[in-house]
Symmetry: C2
Subunit: 358 residues, 2 copies
C-alpha cells in the first residue's frame, strides 16, 4: 500500500474506555455537572484520542504551509502574488500574526513551502515544494492527481516528524495569495452550497472583483468537473498545494492519534478534503474560531464541528488555531487539576435530579 | 463627596489620541487591514483605556466575591447553601475551576467574603462581609440602601488596592448559592425583558423548581418595586452582596483606567448595576464568554458588549474571564510585536481600495 493508503487505514476510532473514565471524573469535579461545557467535551475527546483518561498537552506545533495559485492571473485577490514569499520570510523572522499568537500560546511554528511561485532559499523553511504554484484552474486542473497525492503525503510526513519529535497537539495554518478561491471551489463541490454563499471577499476585494471571483469558481468547476465523492480528484482539480499539504497533516495527525486544530476558511477546506478521503479523521479535528469569510461557517457545519472563538478574524496563518491551542490545553488541566467533591469536602446537589442534569 | 460619588466622577472617556495611534499602527502591520477583528478592536480600546498607544498587560487579577442569598429559602437552587463556604475553601486551596484556569492564563485569584452566611475564618480570604447573606427578597428588600452602598464601596476599595499593587487587568468572578435568582431579577428590572426569558436553570434545577424561581422573582419585584433608574435601589432591593461588590470592582477599575473582564451571568448583572450607576464605566468592560444561562446574552446585548468565547459554560467563579484574559493579553502583543509592512518588506494591497477595507 502507498503511504497515503497506509495512513488512512491507520485512522481508527477513539478509546471509549478512556473517554468513559474522563467523563466520570468530570462529573466528580467541584462544579455542577456539565457546567464547563466545551472544556469538558474537549477533555473527554482528548482522552479518547490519546487513549488516556488524563490526557496532557506538552508540545503544541502550528504547521504553516505556503503555496501559490495560478488562478490569481484572473484577478481574484487584493494582494500581489509576491506577498506569499514575503510573508514566508516574515514567518521565519517571527514578525507575523501567527508568530505572536503562537508565542503567546506556547506553541512552536513550522513553515513549509508546499509550492510558492518563487525560490525560497532559507534553511528555516521546510522544503516540500511540489511545484511552483498551481496551474490556473479555469484552464484545466490545478495539479495532476499524482501531485495531489504528493501534497497529501508531504503533509503526512511532516505531521509524523512532528509527532515523533514530541508534538501532542497540531494546528493548521496557511499562506497563499489567492487561496480563498480554491477553498470556495472545494466547499461548493463537496457541499452543494451555491458559489454565491461559498465565496467571500478574502483579504478584502471590492464588489467587482468578488463577481469575477465567483465567475472564476463557476468556470473552474465547469471546466474540470471534479468528482465530489473523490477527495483527491477535488483537491487536484480545484485545490491548492498548501491545501493538500494541510489535508495530509490532518490525516497524519489522526493516524498517530494526535488532535489537529483547524484554523480558518482555507484550513477548513483542507479539513473537508481530509474528511472526504478518510471520514474517521473528523474525530481528531478541533474547530477553533469562525471566520468573517462567510463560507467558513458552512465548512464547519459540513464537518459537524463547533467553533469556540467568535473574534471576526480572517487572517489565516493559523492565528485562530494558536488562540484555541491555549483553550484546548486548559481543558486537560481542568480534568487533571480540579478537586473532586470528595477531595474538597463540598456537598453535592440536593434531591434526586443530580444524575439527570448532564 | 462619598467614596462612591468620587469614584463615579473619576470615570472619564477613553484617550482618543492613543486610540488613533494604535489604530494607525494596526493598519501598518503585516496583515490585511482589520483581519484580526476583535484582537485589533481590543488593542485599540486598551490603548484608549491606558492612555498609551502601546498598551501592555503585566498583571492580571480575577476577583472572586462570595455571598449568600436569603431567597434560597424559597427553593430556587439545586445546591444547599453550605456549598458557598465550602467553595470558598476550595478557592483558597486552589482546587476550583477558576484556580485552574487562572493559573493557565497567568492570572492571580483574590477571594473576597462579601456576605457568606457562615464564619469564614481564613486569612487568605479578604473579609469584607457586609452581612451574613441577604434577606429573603420576597419578604422585603435584600438589603438596605446603606448596605448596598457598603458593598459597592468595598468593591471599589478592593479594585483600588489591586491596581495600587500593579494589576492592569481585572476580571470578575463570584460564588453564591442562589445568585442567578437576583441576577435574573436585576435583568428583568433594568431591561424590561420578561421574567420567563430572564430566568434559567442556574446550576441545574428541574422544571418544577424553575417555575418556583420565576414566581419568586415576580413576587420580589412586586413586593419591592425597585426603581429601574436607580441602580443602587435595584441592587438593594433585588440584588446580592457579591453582586454589589463586583459592581464596585467594575467602577473602581474604570476610575483607575483599568479594564475589567466581565465573566458570566451574575457578573453581567453586576455590570448592569455598574452601568446604571455610571454609564461611562461601560467603556472599561470587556465581555468574555456567553453562558448557557439564557439571560446572559440579553445582559450583554443590554450593555452593548460582544462576547468572544462560545463554550457553553455556566460555572461562574470568573472561569470565562480567566479564559478571556489570555486573549486580551494577546491583543496587546499583536500591537507591540507584529512587524509592519515596511519593517518586513511586504507589499501592500494593490489598487485604490486599500484605505476603504476596514
Amino acid at each position: 500500500m502507498s503511504k497515503l493508503e497506509n495512513t488512512i487505514a491507520a485512522v481508527t476510532g477513539l478509546d471509549e474506555e478512556a473517554m468513559k473514565q474522563a467523563a466520570a471524573r468530570q462529573d466528580q469535579l467541584t462544579k455542577p455537572q456539565g457546567s464547563l461545557g466545551v472544556l469538558e467535551e474537549l477533555s473527554i475527546r482528548l482522552a479518547g484520542i490519546q487513549g488516556d483518561p488524563f490526557p496532557a498537552i506538552d508540545r503544541k506545533v502550528i504547521i504553516v504551509m505556503a503555496g501559490d495559485h495560478g488562478v490569481v492571473a484572473e484577478g481574484v485577490s487584493a494582494f500581489p502574488q509576491e506577498v506569499t514569499p514575503q510573508m514566508v520570510a516574515n514567518f521565519v523572522a517571527g514578525g507575523a500574526g501567527i508568530n505572536v499568537l503562537a508565542r503567546h500560546s506556547g506553541a512552536e511554528v513550522r513553515v513549509v513551502d508546499m509550492g510558492v511561485a518563487a525560490n525560497i532559499d532559507d534553511p528555516a523553511v521546510i522544503d516540500r515544494k511540489v511545484k511552483p504554484g498551481t496551474d490556473n484552474m479555469v484552464e484545466g486542473p490545478a495539479m495532476t492527481r499524482d501531485e495531489a497525492i504528493a501534497c497529501l503525503e508531504a503533509g503526512i510526513e511532516i505531521a509524523e516528524a512532528e509527532v515523533d519529535a514530541g508534538a501532542d497537539l497540531l494546528g493548521t495554518g496557511e499562506m497563499g495569495i489567492g487561496n480563498t478561491t480554491p477553498s470556495s471551489a472545494i466547499l461548493t463541490v463537496f457541499s452543494g452550497v451555491g458559489v454565491e454563499q461559498a465565496t467571500g471577499r478574502g483579504t478584502g476585494i471590492d464588489n467587482g472583483a468578488l463577481n469575477v471571483k465567483r465567475e472564476v469558481i463557476r468556470r473552474a468547476i465547469e471546466v474540470n468537473r471534479p468528482d465530489p465523492d473523490d477527495g483527491i480528484d477535488v483537491l487536484a482539480k480545484v485545490g491548492g498545494l498548501e491545501i493538500g499539504g494541510l489535508a495530509g497533516v490532518i490525516l497524519g495527525g489522526a493516524a498517530r492519534r494526535v488532535p489537529v486544530i483547524i484554523d480558518g476558511f482555507i484550513s477548513g477546506a483542507a479539513a473537508l478534503v481530509a474528511a472526504r478521503i478518510c471520514p474517521a479523521a473528523r474525530q481528531y479535528m478541533i474547530a477553533s474560531h469562525v471566520s468573517v469569510e462567510p463560507g467558513h461557517k458552512l465548512i464547519l457545519d459540513e464537518l459537524g464541528l463547533k467553533p469556540m472563538l467568535f473574534m471576526d478574524m480572517r487572517l489565516g496563518e493559523g492565528t485562530g488555531a494558536a488562540l484555541a491551542a491555549g483553550i484546548v490545553e486548559a481543558s486537560t488541566r481542568i480534568l487533571a487539576e480540579m478537586a473532586t467533591f470528595a477531595d474538597a469536602g463540598v456537598s453535592e446537589k440536593t434531591g434526586e435530579e443530580s444524575s439527570k442534569q448532564r
